[in-house]
Homo-oligomer: 236 residues x 6
């Protein structure tokens, strides 16, 4: 987590779509950065950008995963919530098992109070109506009422994890919108943010051309002639 993610990088990423960001990552050889199969609890609250704070679950064991474990303030799930900081995103590895929750409304309220900007899990979430009401962007494999203890054993935090079969390292930059969530390796965040801003500006121009009736050849991708017009338009 060496490099600092500057505010203007975050700002640029906040304006870029996940479609653009995955294209930029694809252009750099990264084909598996989109957390497929997750959906926002509230499509109107899908947009977020923040640094990954990871929590790892393994399958539950009946003798270990009982309600009493939460009395320990260092229980990894609870400890993770109390360790997360402003601007971070809680990303949970539930091995894609969504028959049980990975958290509920009280924890999500605390998360919000601590300044977290979103929650992402490839397991379930419970109390989804309340979480939606909180306004915290939340991406989930499926709502699930059953307590996490039934299927998930919280084991450690801030280690590299898989989430929705994508590698997520602590400090990676997570971006969400209505399409879903992309994980940007921390060391590529600045470069990708800059390239994405450029791509989006050009594509907005192209989109207007196509909207006005232009055919794809010469427009998307743009011909030299179109690029010249685009550059002129920016200078105008």
């Amino acid at each position: 987590m060496s490099e600092q993610i500057t505010p203007d990088v975050l700002e640029r990423l906040a304006r870029a779509s996940t479609a653009t960001l995955t294209t930029q990552l694809f252009a750099r050889g990264l084909r598996n950065t989109f957390l497929a199969g997750l959906a926002p609890l509230d499509p109107q609250r899908a947009r977020f950008v923040g640094e990954a704070f990871t929590l790892r679950y393994i399958p539950a064991r009946e003798d270990l995963d009982v309600l009493a474990v939460f009395r320990d303030p260092l229980h990894p799930q609870r400890h993770a919530i109390e360790s997360i900081g402003p601007g971070q995103v809680l990303v949970m590895d539930c091995r894609g098992v969504s028959r049980a929750a990975s958290a509920g409304a009280i924890l999500m309220t605390r998360l919000l109070r601590r300044g977290a900007v979103a929650v992402v899990t490839d397991g379930g979430l419970r109390d989804t109506a309340e979480i939606r009401a909180l306004g915290l962007p939340a991406f989930v494999a499926a709502p699930a009422a059953m307590t996490n203890l039934a299927l998930h054993h919280a084991v450690d935090m801030q280690v590299p994890i898989g989430c929705a079969e994508v590698a997520v390292f602590p400090g990676d930059v997570m971006v969400g919108d209505e399409d879903g969530v992309v994980c940007i390796p921390r060391e590529l965040a600045a470069e990708v943010a800059a390239a994405a801003a450029e791509q989006e500006e050009l594509e907005a121009f192209i989109q207007r051309e196509v909207d006005a009736g232009a055919a794809l050849p010469g427009t998307y991708p743009p011909s030299e002639e179109l690029l010249a017009r685009y550059r002129a338009s920016r200078e105008g």
Copy 2:
């Protein structure tokens, strides 16, 4: 189906969330009571509580499952609809196969007229726009236009079934909300209803504390000190 489910048990269950109910069942050793993978046709109409009336399908056979079968008023699907009573929930076992419907709008209208309070299926439903308009809470693996005859052979009713890989016995109490559906064994319903009411009251108190900025340790789960304040608040 020996024990009676009293109106006040139903009332308490109607106020409890499925999250709370699964926690109470988990506390009693039951880890597999949530019907994962089903979604409400209308999230605004997800809340219900009622007793399970079961219908069982096996895979269809082309020579048996033809349109003419419905001329028989004792065809199990039709007979089930005409046998269901006020306050019941039709729960259908489609083996998780949602490429075909398990019922459509006309049957769901009749269901409503007979006083049923909800329908739950791990198969598909057709005419979903009309069913949504009926206002009947409906949980489904996926909408599916194809008639049930294509993949499902209705075989008997009011037998124990699996639905979404959860055991459902006739007379069990089904509760639904936005998280999904939980099946409460009939003999546990009264006990779980009482415990859930208590849990919800305490958690509402905790939720307010956390909302106001309290950290998790000492709050969730509550310390003796917090519990004392909670008890005082109730007596107040």
Copy 3:
């Protein structure tokens, strides 16, 4: 694609539900015509009818599927978009792999400008918020931000394909509503349209009876007596 689909056939199909249409196909021995597992991006914009224009993807190969391929105006994905005509529906075979997109907002804009009436894919779509804003009916296995190049290699168009494990031939008639999408073999379209119109009229009558409290026996399916009343009501 020999037979012509006349405007009144399309009009009838546009008024029929996919539930009715699959029943009519089932009655003709076709049990696998519903594209299960696809959902509309916008349930308010699910209704469409049009002729299938097919595009086929195979799995991607890293050395072939690079951003530069789109410079070729004959790249099958781009060429398909520029070849589609008024009243057609773009149907894409992504082998059910929805971890990557099969198209995005710029292409969908062009599709709309060319007169297409809908897009159907068993893969993903990106820029889903923008596509929803376009008003183009779109059915998709899941939103997915990642570019199609990551997992899909566009290989040819207007060949028979599988989409959501249903056979789709170029020129087949696709109909969509809130339940999903049905594929009607072109040669059956006129016959099915006529039969569906009749079925819907009768079922509307039945629905009113059931809504008014009629029991299923003698009503659904209708007795001779009810059919007589129905016929009288039409002549009235």
Copy 4:
């Protein structure tokens, strides 16, 4: 289970391959009669023919499915074993869940002693080495050591079930070979047996032709000329 299955029908079926039998069922409109996804514990002991005796499991419930249940001689799993008769095949519906067993070596020994000819399950089997040693043909979704109580609740026997997503009625004729298991509806068994015998004789002739170098056209399917030679060969 009205019609009697005569010994010569069983004998004919015992000589037919499951490939031939599914073709004959397909020719009669039945496309879903092969229990896909099951494998023989011992490929050298895959051949069997017998009448289905069914046992149905639903998902387990922790409070009901404890070791003590087996003390009841009428527990459906144990009762089924003690009810099965000579020439029958135990067919178990485990909803395709093979993470736990549906039976083990002691029960399979008893099955054999009672004259059963095979066991077929879409769940697991435990003690597979011992069962293989017994010589009882056994088809299974996967070996699985865990007791059935962990995931399966035996609920009733001799009811229609689904096994590997195929409808199986008590008394249907099950045939197994190295390809797997086919379920022949009881009422079609005699007709299918006769047709299969004819098909196999002709195909053996065709196979020899192809083996000797004949091209497919005119041979498979056979031309009138080849059929004449075939008939002559039989009379010879």
Copy 5:
């Protein structure tokens, strides 16, 4: 990993079947201890018992997972192999993804030379013919030739993992036979070993009774009378 696993515990476990062991774990409330879906590369070499040494993979990232990484002797996969000791079992968490290998013949040779007794993975293995020839018991989700780097990023070792959706802690006792692999929590190993030995002795007696024609009632489970005979037979 506090408690010592004594040689006689290991010896007892080595003689117990995984079926018996899962029953003993089930009797102690543990229902999810069997690693379903894994098969031995060589059914003749399925038997093993040893302590778990864990290795954890997350999804690969193209820029991190290149052939050059193996030049680092501390690369977790290589380091794990060089850290494993006599009597241990390498257990790998591949998230159930078996499209790529988790190891190959050279590493497995080294594993054997270091005294390991088995390898268990819910991913793939490559060079399976060579590994089979080594004689090392190996359980795998599927053979897979592709290098682990394509899909798996080795991240740490000797941490708790999930393997085939079962919790495995370093030092747990793994036992394999033809049915598959069971994970016994280290702290239960001695108790389970003793109980399993007793159960197997009794069941061998029961098996002989059933083999000789005894019916299940009174035999399995055994009546008091049978138990008396069993006890007498041991004293004899």
Copy 6:
């Protein structure tokens, strides 16, 4: 299919393992070349190398896929068999659906007579005992008795396909061994064959070192010192 595959390239590939070949493809940026999930009918007959001849199936349609279609000698399945030539491998795209066969023993006999060297399908095969007896290497998702017509509609041949979610172009070089099947893009075959031969020679040397007790560091990957010894050993 421009470049010729020379006999010595085929010979080198025939001696290389699929593990080595996928590593060489991985080194060239190709991560998805292994056809996961397929198994040889006969592990003793898994080795083959040959050029891909492709056949494409889409989902069946009941009115099109009837037994009579085979009377047409140009039916794509039959036509493909009669078009395949010496040294080729029949590779079939069944969309991963293995509940029905893609071919049976008569066609496989003809395939062998025409000089084909193997068959690879991500669907099923029927008559597997007979096919095994033929000695033709055959890789399959699962044995399945049901005729292809039930689920598969043969549509065209010698087009690019997906098989087991890997892109296969006509003329690509397929190699099989006990691990499974790899697809080598035709244009890379010569280069990969040469590199694989070198890798295998070096790894055989390393394997002997490890077998003799060498630790991994300095051996695998080899140090400069070891490489020097290796080179000396070859010159020796």
